[in-house]
Each structure stands twice: as C-alpha cells, then as structure tokens.
Amino acid sequence: MNNHPIKKSVRKAGLLSLIPGLGQFYNGQLAKGVLFLLITIAFIIELATIGIPAFQGFITLGTVPIRDHSLFLLVKGTLQIIITFVFLMVMLLSINDARHVARQWNTLGMINKSVGSMVKNVWDKGFPYLLTIPAYFIMLFVIVFPVLVTLFMAFTNYDFYHIPPARLINWVGLQNFFDMFFLSSYRDTFVTVLGWTITWTLLATTCQIALGIITAVVANQDFIIGKRIFRIIFLLPWAVPAFVTIMSFSNIFNDSIGAINQQVLAVLNYIPFVHIPDIPWKTDPFWTKTALIMIQTWLGFPYIFVMVTGVLQSIPGDLYEAANIDGANFIQKFTRITLPMILFATAPVFITQYTFNFNNFSIIYLFNSGGPGDVGGGAGSTDILLSWIYKLTTGTSPQYQLASAVTIVISIIVISVSLFAFKKTHAFSNEEMM
C-alpha cells in the first residue's frame, strides 16, 4: 500500500505555513501555494508602505498639531488592525490546509495537485464559507469598524478641547469611565438618563406587546365581519414610514395648535362630568414621556399583531374544543392555552423588541429632540442614552470620548441582559437552531 517513499511531516507543513504558501509548496501543491504566497507578499508590501506608519500613528495619535490629524491616525490604525486580522485569518487557513493535506498524503498516499481539482475541492468543502464571505466582508467595515473606533475613542480625550487637527488627541486610559462613574456632574446625568431609558424601554415595549397580543386575540374571533379591513387598518402604522408619523405626531401633540389639545380633549369634554384642561405635551417632562410611550405603542403594535395572528392560526383547534368540554371560560382559555403558546413561540422576538426600544433614537429625537428642559451634561429630560450620545457627538461642544464610553457601557448592559434573556427563553438550547 505504501507506494510513496517519503512521509510528509504534519508539523513541518503547519510550521512552514506561518508564511502562507510555503506549507503548500512543501506538500507539492504549487497552484495553491502561489496563491497563498501572492496574498502574503501583497500584505507585506501593504504593511511596509502603509501598515507600519498606520500602527505608529495609532500608538502616538500624532506628535505635531496641524501636521498630524489624530482622528485620521486613529481611523487608519483601526483599518490596519482589521486588515491585519484578515491576514491572520488567511494564515490560519493556510496552516490548517497544509496540515490537512499532509495528513491526507500520509494516509491516502495521494493529493490533488491540479488546479481543476483544487477549485472543485474549494467549491465542495468551502461552499458555506464562500456564501458567507460577502456578509462578513461588508460587516467588517460597516459594523466591526465603527464598533472598534468607538471602543478606542472611549480611551482617548477626544472632546471639544481636543479637536484635530489644531489639537492632538491623546490616550488617557480608563479616565472617561472613571469620570462617568465618579465625577458627580457626569454621573448624575448618566444615572438620570439611564433611569428614564430603562423606564421607557420597559413601559413602551410592554405596552406595544400587550396591545399587539390583545388586538390579535380579539381580531381573530371567527364571528367578526370585515376582518380583512380591520387587519389592513391595523397594519397602517407599520406601513407608513416612521419618520412621517413621528413628525406628524410631533405637531398633533403641539401644546397650542395640536389636534390632541384642540380636538380630542374638546370632544372628550362633551362627556358629562369630564373636564380635562389643555395638557402641556411638549413642555412638561411627564406629559412628553406619556406621549412618547403612547406613540411608540401605536407605532410598534402592528408587528406584534401580525406575528401573534400567525401563531394563533397555528394553534390546533382541538385544544379549545377540549377546554370547552371541560367548561373553561374565555379567560381560562386565554391564560392556559393562548398566552403560553404565543409566549413560547415568540419570546425571542419580544426580546429584540426591548433592545430595539432601548436604542430607539428616532422617536425621541424627532418627537421633541429629547426635550423639554435639561438634566445636565447636555441631555434633555426625555433623552434616552442613545439620543444623549447623539447630542454629545453632534452638538456645538462635542464630547466624543464620553459618548464612546457611554456606548461601551450600554452595549455591555444590553448584550449581557439579552444573552441572559435568550438563555432563559431557551432560544439557544435547540441544537437544530444553533
């Protein structure tokens, strides 16, 4: 059986591939080796011309104001880190491939050397990777890149005192996180804004989920005439672009000319013994918050409604028949059959609704720009963390460093809470799913 005299050393093949391509040459796969080597050479040239200066700039963030633009250096350094990471992945791939091929040579005594069989092999084994590469490539630059820049900025002093290129940005270590938790002015704003963000997330999301479920259950009864029309109406808040409705609501809730004060309350006041004075929707924090929660409920319930309607239609009818025979009433049927079925099927989506509202910038910003009033640190009384971050980075005296540090902290909160919730709802437990 042993018709080839020399065994390949798996170790040696792997070690040689630390310079991608060499391991493939050692295995006798010329075409693959050349390909890997070309990538390596390209990377080395890139590193020598752009990469090394980029890394240096990233470490110093510039030494001479005006000549060195710290922000550009930070961004270029981040890009270089991503490029280097991609090359390291190629290296890992090359090492794995070289070891794999060497092992194959030792056991089977043959390997593919032709270009054709190589292509076929990549197509066959690498198909899943080929299909996901475009997704990862775009995410690398559109998601990973900004996340990394945010992370790095949180450790600098990039604020309105240090606007490049006139001034340099410097690394300051954990200073920003320290300020955020121990400097009273920042801490008070952070705590106030975080408090409202959590209240907002819980109330708005729970309201929209509750209204969605109730509407789905009510509208799904068999006797209803005109079901289709109601369904279409209930979809409208989702179908009309959100910025249109939010800006309209911003006018509708206007204290002096808005429809709520002028028309709705006027109509309600016709009811005997009801007298509601004009409500300061846009000027009183409490009423602005109330309005925001109502509007988000209006905007968000159709999505839940559609999904729950789908779940309801998939619940087998015999369950209700059995319950009827046992003499269950409407409420019992709802709490014992309907609700558990809905929650079982849609809990993960509900979690994403909570994270969505936690970061629901557009409604806060477009309705009343986070106002009214001011709770310090540049935040208005209805600003959630994300709209506060927006103000910190776009205002007249930007504080990118603080915005980044806040982003990092809330990301950690959101990620850990949702991972915990996902675990609890067993979204991960099914192997089929993961």
């Binding site: 890009l79 996901t132 995410m139 509407t215 808040p237 672009p241 006018n251 999904m307 099927a345």
Partner: protein, 283 residues
Amino acid sequence: MRRLLRNQKSNKFFGRFFTYLFLIVLSIIILYPLFITAQSAFNVSNLAAFTLDWHMQWTLDNFRQLFSQTLYLTWFKNTIIIAISTMIIQVIIVTLAGYTYSRYRFKGRKNGLIFFLIIQMVPTMAALTAFFVLGLIINGLDQYWYLTLVYVGGGIPMNTWLMKGYFDTIPRDLDESARIDGAGHLRILCQINLPLAMPMIAVQALWAFMGPFGDYLLAAFLLRTPSNLTVAVGLQQFIANPTNQNISLFAAGSFLISIPIVVLFFFLQRYFQSGLTAGGTKG
C-alpha cells in the same frame, strides 16, 4: 334553565359588542392622525391648527409647490436609487448567509451566529464621526454607494438571523433526495430552496427597500449636497426650523412617499404572516 340560556345569550351579545367596540375605537385611533396628515397635504397653505378640519378648502397647490419650487422629485429619485440597490445587495447577501447557516454544519458556525446576534446590539451612534472619516478616506462622502453599503451592512445581522429561521422550517428531505439524484450545491439552493423561501425573500426585500425611506440619521450625516439628499432628510428641512415650519409641504411630501410604500405593503401582506411566524419565532 331558561335564565341560564338567556344569560349565555346576553354574555355573547356583550362579548360581540365589546369586540366591535374595541376594533372600532382602535381603528379610529390609528386612522385619526393619518387622516390629519393626509388632509393637511391638501389644505390651503398657512395652517392655523394641526387638526382634522371638516370644512377646509381643498387644493393641490402644496403638490405644485413641491414639484416646482423644491428638489422633491430629485430627492425621490435619489431615494429610489438607494433603496433599490440596498434591496438587491442586501437580499442576495442575507439569503446566501441565512441559507448557509441553516443548511451547512461547518467550523465556526455557532460562533458566527452568536457574533451576528451580539454585534447588532452595539449602537454605532458614537461612531458617526468614524463613518464620516472613513468616507473621507475612501472618497465615499456624498456618494450613494457608500450610504448603500452602510445600510446593507446594518441590515445584515438581524435579517440573516430571520432568514436562517425561515430556511430552518423548510424540510431538509428535499435536499437529501436531490443530492442523491446528483444535484450540486447550487442546484439544491436555486431550484429547491429559493422557490420555497420566496415569502421570506419578499418580506426581506420590502424591509430593505423601506429602510432608506425611513432613515433620517445616516443620510443626513453622509450626504451633503442639497440635490443629493434622500426624501426623509429633505422633508425634515421643511419643519426643522420651528419659526418657519412649512407643515403643508411636509405633509404633501410625506403623503406622496407613503402611498407607494403602503401599496407595496399590502401586496406583500400575505407573505408577512408566513415569513414572520416562521422566520421570526424560531429565533
């Protein structure tokens, strides 16, 4: 016995009465603000109040003004271009990735899925400046392709996850038998799975298409020239200045972009149920 029967009957009556009452009140709450917006689009300009007006004067002046004196048509065209390219690129990428995560078992799969889930929870708001600088470096500022790529990238994680959930509900037996008959990777994907995933693909296409119409933030940040703006940014300018709001123009512009989206929405509506319940609920 008769009393019990009558009791049941009146119970049933009350049940139906409250059901219809609920549905009708909710419908009014939904339609009322929408009617106000739609109506102010046809109202003679200077609005004294933003309310439902029973005896207002109807006019098309707002639309005339929109077309002749503002860049609305250009903004509309820009948005369509961006929306269609976003839709095509995003749907292709998301479908391929979702399919892969559903059908193939490969090294790094689980980590990839968790990565998709986590990375989309980190807000990129603070990094708007980073997008701006990156745009300067690769010459993408004020360019549609750059904005399109940013939209596509932002949509990938969540939608891949939903897409995978949908593919999970398509039985695998078909793949197996096709493979035994000698079908390759591409044939199994294109001839068996893609046609079955059409409802979800339609939903995804609609969402991707709607995104650029609804986004205000990124477009306002990355587009500069007035004639390059998208509809959302352009319309916002009409009411951005509190002392000089032009609500009628805003309403007219909003009315015009809402119509096609709402129509698309209802055409694709029947896909929603299957797309959402299958794709969304699993995970």
